[in-house]
Symmetry: C2
Subunit: 105 residues, 2 copies
DNA sequence: CCGCAATATCGGTGAATTGCGATAGAACAT
DNA sequence: ATGTTCTATCGCAATTCACCGATATTGCGG
């Protein structure tokens, strides 16, 4: 994952409403449509749809048409990918690459 | 960590330049001032200072005046905190809370 | 005291984000 | 076909972001 990609994905998660949407989607496990999300939030349907689009563009969820509704499925692969990238980032930020105690000249 | 807090911190990291700044700071380990960062990036000093401010406000780094310069230190505690929060988030997004195999009625 | 170097902050510009209501289109039931 | 429901998309306004150059501040050396 490139920095750009990490940054984009993190920014997609960098909004309380979108965090909440992810949780709502998780709770309903693939049986969740836009209206369900809207009902759970104090926001207009268009606004929710926008937030969903951001998550879609980041690859964090996937749209699956189902009759007149659309179901949204969390992409756990993608989340895991981000988790790994984030872990790698933390790793790279770690204080000191001390090799051996005896090596401290 | 509240959602707001998680979102803010993630958004602070949600920019490639700021990721890079974090890496630069890590590499120089506390001996790094604003000019050093600016020299490593194709951006104006004021822009770099702005990005640093974002990281400061998110608590991801700390300023430590040192003569006419300012040194910036990565707050590993804060990073770890975010890591934990992010892990918890992933946990909460996990597909199914299956208790036992025998329980699958 | 005077200039210099480092840096934060101000003012401005253009782009992106966040929110809304209104609208268009698809699928369905009647 | 017609109306209903669900949802994406289109303006639109307000806000924030990203970037810049210019400026003010602060500490240091002469």
């Amino acid at each position: 994952m490139r920095d750009d990609d990490i940054a984009n994905t993190m920014r997609a998660l960098g909004h309380p409403v979108r965090l909440e949407i992810m949780r709502i989607l998780a709770k309903q496990q693939g049986q969740c449509c836009c209206a369900d999300v809207t009902d759970s939030l104090p926001l207009a349907q268009s606004t929710v749809s926008q937030h969903i689009k951001v998550l879609l563009d980041a690859g964090l969820i996937e749209r699956k048409p189902h009759g007149t509704r659309n179901r949204y499925i969390i992409q756990h692969d993608r989340l895991a990918e981000l988790g790994t990238a984030f872990g790698g980032l933390l790793q790279g930020l770690v204080p000191a690459p001390v090799h051996t105690e005896a090596e401290t000249a």
